[in-house]
């Protein structure tokens, strides 16, 4: 495999992995926000 092709694959893999991790973090934050809205939770930590 040529060095250029290798570099391209490495860059793609690393970028993909970084995006995946960023997406995971983003999704968990977004879910927390969404569920808060859906739950109508009280200030005492009690969700109805």
């Amino acid at each position: 495999m040529s060095p250029v092709a290798q570099t391209v694959i490495v860059v793609l893999l690393v970028a993909g992995a970084a995006l995946y991790v960023a997406r995971k973090v983003w999704l968990s934050v977004a879910r927390a926000r969404r569920e808060r809205n859906a739950a109508g939770c009280g200030a005492d930590g009690c969700c109805k």
Binding site: M1, A17, A32
Partner: protein, 720 residues
């Protein structure tokens, strides 16, 4: 559709005439029943492995869904509702079931309700059955564990029971898959049968008193079919979730009943159990009586104040020893397979960045975590055995007194023990604790229980630095240190809970009410299902999040490439490149912060990158030492032992460093998923964020303090 139903008929073992019609919409079935009736096992037997686990919208009650194809080719989707003793609107789990069945949830009302009743405890189970048949929904009763009842000498007259209840009753043995086909047939037929209705007699005076309440409930939007049941439920304690009209009607009805000489609080229980006594008399023959069962005799010993506790501690000791030793041969097999894969890929690809990424990043990173699969499987196997055998409830009963002294509930015990496996399901398991303060206190300390993700960290460090010394019996020093780490976490959890109950979460702890199911031999099939589900979840994480993180860490440890002078040895080149990489620079930046703990910058980097998940610490170490270390294929423990401080030449890792690092991981909340679930379960939104922040902060402080104390202590004894 046609192909699917043909296939189902071709493979189905039961001869069923072709369906006259093939409805397109799936049949919705809800599974309801008391806890400990084998409901989950029945659910597994009905739906197989295809399950989805989620939450009911807006509430923190677990929702498990599965499906199967009926004999007539129709899809049947099964919803497993949380275990309940009644449809009491005061407890979250049971309120969910009531709302869903009465059509108040955002889910359509199920077409068929399958009520799972335990044949051994039919009398108590019939309470929920009698409530459910009043809802006017097509219903089937699965009379589960009929084999155990027969063995005990109980004779249940199923035909008479059908007559008494007015619904189909199917005897089943979920653990062996017996009666499942007949249950499926009964489910398919249930919508065409007349709907069941109230069977128990209600005194005229009570009927008259309740009629205005029923009317007020119907006016308030309660389906007429459910009004009779709900009127009775509201009588016990006038709820506030309905309008003032309902409240006024309930108050009037209560005083009317009192005048008539009836107790409104206990009216429902009296009526239902009065009816149940008659049903039991006509349907069940119990020649032996059930005064003293084998379980009682076992409990004489297992619930003994001294012996019971000793046996409990011994059991826990055996579990941890087994997790460490039984897994060892399997771990070695996984390790050598990974080593072989690394060598193969390395030689097949030739030098280059891509080869380094695959071998040092992916195989070292993901492999370093996968090695712990055997231990996780064994831990879940043991938790499953304890749970399914009925011992877990005894442990909660035994522990209640002790839990209470630190302000926790006996029910907190099960989440805490589950915390040994993983804090995420454990925090979700706190939902069985009703009072918000009891729950919050448990949530706050659950992550202190050493979860299976810490196991990779512990075993790596113990294996590398603690001498394998036999102590006596089945114990050796490895097992003992591991047990010590678990004990440290457990004791701190209790102490911290005590402080929370005295400061932020003051209040009375809810009293204990717990059913002790009879002991039974756990079904291997059910255990296998649990272990399989948990293990595959772990593997999926290793294949996704940890894979991605490994690649990212590899990139950070590799770039930017720096120019190195010619003529120096290979290892020194790699060392310099690592030090100049992004990761190396970050590590050097935080090195002063971790220096008081005796950690070098490589450990600092691994700690930072393990915020995502603790086991990433091991894969990060694997990646860093894979990148910076020699290429002779030595394992990570050997590399750690060989690591020297470049300035002093002293070993970086001493026993004290290793212990300090382990103590750090006992306390630190290095787990993205736990933080996320804490936010959600502690109330969501800013409330949740605040509690999660408190949790993360106090745990990090404890971790730092703990590791520092270990270093100071070791220094004082002169073996730092």
């Amino acid at each position: 559709m046609g192909a699917a139903s043909d296939a189902a008929r071709a493979t189905g073992s039961i001869a069923v005439p072709p369906a006259p019609r093939a409805p397109a919409s799936p049949l919705r079935v809800a599974l309801v029943g008391n806890p400990n009736t084998g409901k989950s096992t029945l659910f597994n037997a009905l739906t197989g492995m295809r399950q989805r686990v989620g939450n009911f919208a807006g509430v923190t009650v677990e929702r498990v869904e599965g499906s199967y194809t009926g004999a007539d080719g129709r899809r049947v989707s099964v919803l497993d509702l949380p275990g309940a003793y009644s449809l009491d609107p005061h407890t979250p789990d049971e309120a969910i079931a009531l709302d869903l069945l009465a059509g108040r949830a955002d889910v359509p009302v199920p077409d068929v309700v399958v009520i799972v009743a335990d044949a051994l405890h039919l009398e108590r189970n019939l309470y929920l059955v009698s409530q459910l048949i009043e809802l006017g929904l097509p219903a089937v009763v699965a009379l589960n564990q009929i084999d155990a009842a027969t063995k005990r000498g109980l004779q249940v007259d199923v035909v008479e029971l059908i007559h008494e209840l007015g619904v189909t009753v199917v005897p089943t043995v979920a653990t062996k898959g017996e009666g499942i086909d007949r249950l499926r047939q009964a489910i398919a037929r249930a919508p065409d049968l007349p709907v069941p209705s109230r069977r128990m007699p209600v005194p005229r005076v009570a009927e008259q008193a309740l009629r205005p309440v029923e009317q007020a409930l119907v006016d308030d939007g309660v389906p007429p079919a459910a009004a009779g049941l709900e009127a009775l439920l509201h009588l016990t304690a006038p709820g506030t979730d309905h309008g003032p009209a309902v409240h006024a009607a309930v108050v009037a009805a209560r005083s009317q009943l009192l005048d008539a000489g009836l107790n409104p609080e206990s009216l429902e229980a009296e009526l239902r159990y009065g009816w149940i006594t008659g049903v039991m008399h006509r349907t069940v023959k119990d020649p032996d009586g059930q005064e003293h069962t084998t379980s009682d005799r076992v409990d004489r010993l297992l619930l003994h104040k001294v012996w019971g506790m000793l046996i409990f501690l011994a059991l826990m000791g055996i579990v941890f020893q087994a997790v460490f030793f039984w897994a060892a041969p399997m771990q070695e097999a996984v390790e050598s397979a990974l080593g072989w894969a690394g060598t193969q890929v390395g030689s097949a690809m030739g030098e280059g960045d891509l080869q380094s990424l695959i071998v040092d990043g992916v195989i070292a990173g993901v492999g370093g975590v996968l090695v712990f699969l055997p231990q996780i499987a064994i831990l879940f196997l043991f938790i499953g055995v304890l749970e399914d055998s009925g011992y877990m409830a005894r442990a909660a009963f035994l522990m209640d007194r002790y839990m209470r002294t630190v302000g926790l509930h006996g029910r907190s015990f099960i989440p805490l023990v589950s915390g040994f496996a993983c804090a995420v399901p454990a925090i979700m398991a706190t939902r069985t604790i009703e009072r918000p303060r009891d729950r919050l206190a448990t949530i706050m300390v659950v992550p202190l229980m050493s979860c299976s993700a810490r196991l990779p960290v512990y075993t790596l460090l113990i294996g590398a630095f603690v001498p394998a010394m036999h102590i006596g019996g089945f114990l050796d020093l490895h097992g003992l240190v591991l047990l010590g780490m678990y004990l440290l976490g457990t004791v701190s959890a209790l102490v911290v809970a005590f402080f929370f109950r005295r400061t932020l979460l003051r209040g009375q702890t809810q009293p204990l009410i717990l059913e002790l199911p009879p002991y039974r031999i756990p079904s291997p099939r059910a255990l296998a299902t649990t272990v399989f589900h948990r293990s595959s979840l772990f593997v999926r994480r290793a294949g996704t999040v940890i894979l991605a993180l490994s690649i990212v860490i590899w990139a950070l440890a590799t770039y930017p490439r720096s120019d190195v002078p010619d003529g120096i040895p290979d290892e020194a080149v790699q060392e310099m490149q690592l030090a100049n990489s992004f990761l190396g620079r970050a590590g050097h930046a935080i090195a002063p912060a971790v220096a008081p703990l005796g950690f070098d910058w490589k450990i600092g980097v691994s700690i930072v990158s393990s915020f995502a998940a603790r086991e990433v610490f091991v894969s990060a170490m694997g990646t860093i030492y894979g990148v910076g270390g020699s290429e002779d294929g030595a394992g990570l423990p050997e590399k750690l032992r060989a690591e020297r401080n470049p300035e002093t030449g002293a070993p970086v890792y001493t026993l004290a460093t290793a212990i300090g690092l382990m103590v750090f991981y006992v306390f630190a909340l290095m787990c993205m998923s736990t933080v996320a679930i804490s936010i959600r379960e502690a109330g969501g939104g800013w409330t949740g964020v605040r509690w999660a922040a408190v949790q993360f902060g106090y745990m990090l402080a404890l971790a730092y303090l703990g590791a520092w104390l270990v270093r100071i202590g070791a220094g004082a004894f002169g073996w730092a």
